[in-house]
Every structure is written in C-alpha cells, then in structure tokens.
C-alpha cells in the first residue's frame, strides 16, 4: 500500500493490521463512519430541498387528517362542560339508578353550562345518540339560569319529563367519557343498549353498512367497466401511428378538461327521461313512450357518470405499459404456433398486468371516495358513503360520525392495498 500515508487516499482498500476486523480508512477511522460522514452533507442538502414540501404536507394534510380522525374516537363536548355529572358516572357503575346526588350534579352542571353558554355544545353531543334532545338541553338551560331549587330530580322533571328517560341517561353515561368507540359502532349500524351491550339499530335506521357495501360494490363494478372499455382503447393508443393516437388521446383526456357542471349537465340532457337517449330509443321503437328508462338520479346515473370520469385513470397507466410492450413478443408467440387469442392471453395480457393493476387500484380508490358525481346524478339509490360523510360534515354537524365513517373507509382502502400488495406486489405497479 504505497499511498497509505497519503492524506488524500481517504479509503484504504484492505483491512490490514486491525484487531476488530472492521474495514478502516487509511488514517484508521472505521470505514462505515467515514462513509456516513462523506455522505452526510449530500443527505442534509437533499433534506433541505424537500423540507418545504414536507412542511406543506404536514400542515395541510397530515395534521388536519390526524385531527379529524381523532374526533372519531375523542369527543369532549359533554365531559368538558358537565364535569360533576361525568364524575358521578365515573363513580357509579352502569345500571345504577340516578340518585339525588346525580340529579344535583346534573342541575349544577346545567346551570354552570347555561351561564357559560356552552349548553348547546352539550346538547349537540347527546343529540347524536338520542335525536331531539338538543332542544331539551337548551330550553332547560334557559329555565335553570333563572334559578333552580332542590330537590333537583323533581324540579328538572317538572321542567321536562324527558329528563327521566333512561335512554337519555344511558347516552349521557356514554358521553361522559371523552374517549369512545360509539361513533364507530354507529358507523356499522350498531349502538350500545341501556345495559351497555352492543346491539343492532332498528332496521329502518340501518344505512351505513348497506352504503359501505354499495360503495364497494359500485366501485368494483365501475373498475371492471373502465377495464372493459379502457383496455381496447389503450391498446389502440399504443399501436396507432403517433398522429392518430395523439388525437385519440385528446378525446380520452377530454373529461379532465371539461367543467364538472358542463359534464354533469350533458349527462342530464342525455340520460333524463325526456332526454336524447330515451327519445332515440322511443323513435327507434325499442321502448314504448310509456316505458322510458330511468337512467339518471339513480344508481345507473352514478355508474355511467363515474365510469366516464374515471376512464382516463384506467387508460393512462394501461397505455404507458402497453407502449413499452414490443410487438415482437406477440409475433414471436404467433411464430411459435399460438393463435392470436392464445398469444394475447398468454403473452400480451400478462405483460399489461402492471398497468392494469395500477389503473384498477387508482380507479377503485378514487371511486370509493367519490362524492360530487353521485351527489349530482345519483338520486337516492346512487348515493355513496362519501355523500353520507359530507352530510354529517355539513348538515348534521356530527363531525365525529363523519370522521368515524371516513376512518373506516380509509381502513378498508388500506386493507385492500395491503391485500393487493400481497397478491400482486406493489413494485409491480406502473402508474405512468
């Protein structure tokens, strides 16, 4: 080692004269550490470059979503403003009849809360579980502010008899603990009975499970339809001469460039009962004038419109994969004795799988979370779970419920992603 003493020869090539057997640089430092140091600067610079994006994602994405998800299991709307009653619930086991101490705690808390003008928050929280109770809280709060005398049970019952409802007490007990799984129970059409057991809600209130099923089923169906429609187009795009394929590509991308309102309005014009398609079918005599098809404001409308808007997400990954498949593969298969169908099935199609996987995953995940199209053309039978989330966000203002539904949706999608990874392998994915 002629240059062992040369200070510029930072890394020695042999581990001569060492006791621990680790490779060392010429000046005796461990090679691993020297390597880490030599790369540290580059790594720091790279980190600084991505820092703005990291901060942006953190502030606008991770933190808000984390907070939202937190609401799905943490709601202190009741426990925060009704401390004494919450204390009583904590000390007395489930099933204990509310004694005068409980009523006292309730009256004191109501009074304090009414003074602090937080009674609405408390009412809203209980209203999630027992509909119609918000006004009970607010009206009682108004009267309690004017003063209330013991015995409190009689006084409160006098203000409103509903205070004796065991359902109400059960709901208040549940709400007294800020950490709760009740929103998740509600999101799968379950609730806690008065004895704390988990039971199904009444049949006419069971909506969420059905909506989840419908959302996944429709998303699967839409994914399948985009595959059936998109595969030949992607193939055409990949094999046509450049000029023609560019023109076709513009047509494929057209839905992206069209305003949502214009697109939806055109669907309405086309699909409604007095619309173009029905008119043509009647004119052709395929259907009678009385039997006009209902193709919008129901599931059919949701399926058609969502397929249309999601089609490019299937076509583009497929196209980018197909373009890289050399035509000589199919030719080779044909020359080896395969019919064109066998050549397609055994040689061409398997090579498109990375694109198909990416497209299917993309379309499915987008479809599962789709909101605006079903809201506009879905009617009642075409509503998906996202529409329910939106309703809880904007109409009922039950954000915890919305968060629980969203969390379930997110969990389901992640689960599917995991299954996909196990079955196909995520590195087999080609998004473009």
């Amino acid at each position: 080692m002629a240059n062992a003493l040369d200070p510029h020869a930072a890394i020695a090539t042999t581990a001569g004269g060492l006791t621990d057997g680790a490779l060392r640089t010429a000046d005796g430092r461990p090679l691993v550490r020297a390597l880490a140091r030599s790369q540290a600067l580059a790594r720091r610079r790279a980190f600084l470059l991505v820092l703005p994006l990291l901060a942006f994602v953190l502030i606008t994405f991770v933190i808000p979503i984390g907070q939202m998800l937190q609401r799905s299991f943490y709601n202190d709307g009741f426990s925060d403003h009704m401390p004494q009653l919450s204390q009583w619930f904590a000390e007395n086991p489930r099933g204990a009849e509310p004694d005068e101490a409980a009523w006292t705690a309730l009256a004191t808390d109501l009074q304090a809360s009414a003074e602090a003008r937080t009674i609405g928050i408390v009412g809203t929280r209980i209203n999630y579980d027992v509909p119609g109770t918000r006004s009970l809280f607010t009206s009682t709060g108004r009267q309690v502010r004017r003063g209330i005398e013991p015995p409190y049970q009689a006084a409160l019952m006098e203000i409103n008899e509903d205070w004796g409802d065991p359902r109400l007490w059960s709901a208040m007990r549940e709400a007294s603990n800020p950490v709760t799984g009740n929103f998740y129970l509600a999101a799968v059409d379950r609730k806690r009975g008065e004895d704390g057991s988990i039971q199904q809600v009444e049949e006419r209130q069971q909506v969420y499970v059905m909506l989840f099923m419908r959302t996944f089923w429709l998303s699967l169906l839409i994914t399948f339809i985009t595959f059936v429609l998109g595969f030949p187009i992607a193939h055409l795009l990949a094999t046509l001469p450049m000029r023609k394929s560019n023109l076709l590509m513009i047509l494929v991308l057209l839905p992206f460039w069209t305003s949502l309102l214009v697109r939806t309005t055109s669907w309405m014009v086309l699909l409604q009962q007095q619309g173009v398609i029905n008119d043509i079918l009647v004119w052709l005599g395929v259907i009678g004038g009385g039997g006009r098809l209902q193709m919008i404001y129901n599931q059919t409308g949701t399926i058609i419109a969502m397929t249309h808007i999601l089609l490019p997400f299937m076509i583009l990954p497929l196209y980018s994969v197909m373009r890289t498949i050399n035509p000589s593969y199919v030719r080779a298969a044909r020359s080896l004795g395969a019919t064109s169908w066998t050549a397609f099935r055994r040689v061409y199609f398997p090579q498109t799988l990375p694109g198909l996987g990416a497209g299917a995953l993309l379309v499915f995940i987008l479809a599962v979370g789709y909101y605006i199209t079903p809201a506009l053309v879905g009617g009642s039978s075409g509503q998906l779970i996202s529409n329910m989330i939106a309703m809880h966000m904007t109409d009922t203002l039950n954000w915890s419920m919305a968060a629980a539904l969203a969390a379930l949706l997110l969990g389901a999608v992640l689960l599917l992603y995991w299954v996909y990874d196990r079955m196909v392998g995520i590195d087999n994915l080609k998004l473009g």
Partner: protein, 367 residues
C-alpha cells in the same frame, strides 16, 4: 434469377411484390428459391427490403402480389401460427414474464404436447445451446449472449424445418458475435435445418452462408455463394457493398471476349474483365480488391498494364500494411500488403507503378 434448384425448392418466392402505402414498392418482383437444408442469408442495407421478405415468409406481412411457397405449398393464406416456422428475433423477444423453461415450453404447449415429452424436449434444446442449468431463470437475469442462446433454443425446440433469423446477433459484442456465428453454423449443419438469415453485416453473411442474396432497392442484386460474391461481383453495388473495393471510372477502349482495355480519365490504360459492359466506348467502373493490387513487376502476368501511383500514407495494421495511393488523379485508392519479413516498406511521397491480374479487375456498370 431462379436457380437450378427451383425444381425441389423448399422455400420459393415467385414474382413477389410488396407495397405498404400503395405508392412505392418495397420489394420489386422477387424470385428466390431456397433449397432444403440451405443456409441462405439476405444481406443488404437498411430499407433494402430484406426484412420485409423475411416477415412475408414468417406470415407477419402479406405479399401484395406473387406467391410464396413452403415445401411446394402456397402459404400466402396460411396464418403465421400454422406455418411451423421457427423464428429468432432481433431483440430475442423472450417472454419476460416466463422463465426460460416456460418460454421453451410455450411452443410445445400450444401444440398440445404431453408434459413428459415437453420436458425431455426442453432439456434437449437447452443442452443443445449449453444452457441446461438455466431453465428456471427469467430472461432478465441472463446476459445478452445467454438470451440469444435461449431464443435460438426456443425457435428450435419444436423441430421446425425452417428457421428464420432477423439480425439475431446485432446486439452482441464482436467477440460474442463471432462465437455465436460459429455456433449457429454448427447447429445448422448438425440439425440439417433450412435457415434464412437476415443481416446487414457482410462479414456475418460471408462466414455463415451457403448462399447470400444481396438486396438493394427492393431487388436481389446478386445471389451467389460468398466466394463468388466477393471475387466476382455482378455489379457495382455488390462490389462496393461487400468488402473493401477500389473503383476506377473510365471508358472501354478495347473489348475482346473475356478481356477489356479501359482508358482512365487521365489517359492511362488498364486491364479488366468485362462483366456488364457490352461495347467499345461505354462508360464503366472498374473494381479491384485492395489485396489484389501488386506493385512489384515480377508478380505481374506478362503483358499486363501498369499505371503510376503516388503513395499518400501507409497504415500499419498488424497483419497487413494498408497503403493509400493517388491513382488517376484521385487519392482514395487502397492497396493492402501482407506484413511479411521481406515486405518492401513504402514511404509517403514515393512514386510506384501498380498493376493487377486482369481477372481481378472487373469492368462493371457505371454508377
């Protein structure tokens, strides 16, 4: 250009024409018969129509006009998978999602062969190309040369009588290419298959083929064994496309049987063998191979003409010395001398006289 083997031709192109756009012909009236067991190379620059001919034979292109016959049977209407022709592609076209074994199994499976039979054939084909241990590998895990061998094995595994090869060695480095040339030639001889080989590499064509068809401009310019092609080119294109070649333009001064006297522009007279010149006074291009040029009078046949030349430079190339000469006013005349112990070393600027055996200079059509 039909040759004497036409009667029992295994593959025959009869008046085949091909046009892609209806405006121009890519293949113009092609007639070619290939004998059973022959190794025929289609050689030509890109765009000469050689690959189109191969694709028509394989069934991926249809002839616009004319007939292609395989074993006496017209195959214009036969789809590619029923032709039973093995093919090796330029990029090998090994199916990337299958292992080597599955790739070889594919042609046997589509033929409905039983598993045991398939396995023994695959093993035999892999042994044939010395790749027996690689059956479970994926094509991406193999080197270019190994992929080449697998492509060869796959084209041969179902025992086709005819194998087409479309520039199969184009992607390999020189050494590997030469080795594979030898192996392909060896396989051809051992299996007795008919091979139609497309290449633009003349060295490849000369070393491997029984006969070479030189393509240019949609036509076969010459169809001949390699030695004939090199030593007796039919026209200027072939003379220039195959090997290094000196060309001297001039006019026919005298024409008598197999001898011609050509007067160069500078007034000097040279000997040549007339090939496609017919009359005195015709313009011609005389072609002489650099290694057939002599500058020592004692090596010349008696009575041969010699002309003056000036040595421009001499390049030492190891086995030979390559001298660039100024002859008849133009400085691109090349002479090759064997690097023997007694070889005269020429110096730049030296004036010499050069000549050649009349049989080595061919008076061809002017281009």
């Amino acid at each position: 250009m039909l040759d004497d083997r036409h009667g029992d031709a295994f593959v025959a192109f009869e008046h085949v024409q091909k046009s892609y756009d209806g405006q121009t012909l890519v293949v113009k009236d092609l007639n070619l018969s290939i004998g059973k067991g022959e190794f025929l190379t289609m050689l030509g620059p890109s765009g000469s129509g050689k690959t189109t001919c191969l694709m028509m034979l394989a069934g991926f292109e249809t002839a616009t006009h004319g007939e292609i016959k395989l074993a006496g049977r017209p195959i214009n209407q036969v789809p590619p998978h029923k032709r039973g022709i093995g093919m090796v592609f330029q990029n090998y076209a090994l199916f990337p999602h299958m292992t080597v074994g599955e790739n070889l199994s594919f042609p046997l499976e589509v033929r409905g062969m039983a598993k045991a039979e398939r396995e023994s054939r695959i093993a035999r084909a892999l042994d044939m190309v010395q790749m027996g241990k690689f059956a479970s590998r994926r094509p991406a895990q193999l080197s270019g040369g190994q992929q080449q061998r697998i492509a060869l094995a796959r084209a041969l595994v179902f025992d086709p009588e005819l194998v087409l090869m479309d520039e199969p060695l184009g992607a390999l480095d020189k050494q590997l290419r030469e080795h594979m040339q030898f192996e392909i030639k060896h396989l051809h001889e051992r299996l007795g298959i008919t091979v139609v080989y497309v290449t633009h590499d003349q060295g490849e064509a000369l070393t491997m083929s029984d006969r070479v068809a030189v393509f240019n401009d949609g036509r076969i310019q010459q169809l001949a064994p390699p030695a004939d092609l090199y030593e007796r080119p039919d026209n200027s294109f072939v003379a220039q496309f195959i090997g290094e070649n000196n060309k001297l333009p001039g006019t026919i001064e005298e024409l008598s049987g197999d001898k011609a006297l050509v007067r160069l522009k500078t007034g000097e007279l040279i000997d040549a063998t007339p090939v496609n010149v017919t009359a005195k006074g015709q313009q011609t291009l005389v072609s002489i191979r650099p290694e057939r040029v002599e500058f020592k009078p004692e090596m010349m046949p008696p009575g041969a003409h010699m002309i003056g030349a000036e040595v421009c430079d001499v390049i030492y190339m190891g086995d030979i010395l390559r001298a660039r000469l100024k002859v008849a006013g133009s400085g691109d005349f090349v002479m090759k001398m064997r690097n023997t112990i007694g070889q005269t070393r020429l110096e730049p600027g030296q004036q010499i006289r050069i000549g050649w055996h009349p049989a080595d200079a061919r008076a061809l059509d002017p281009v």
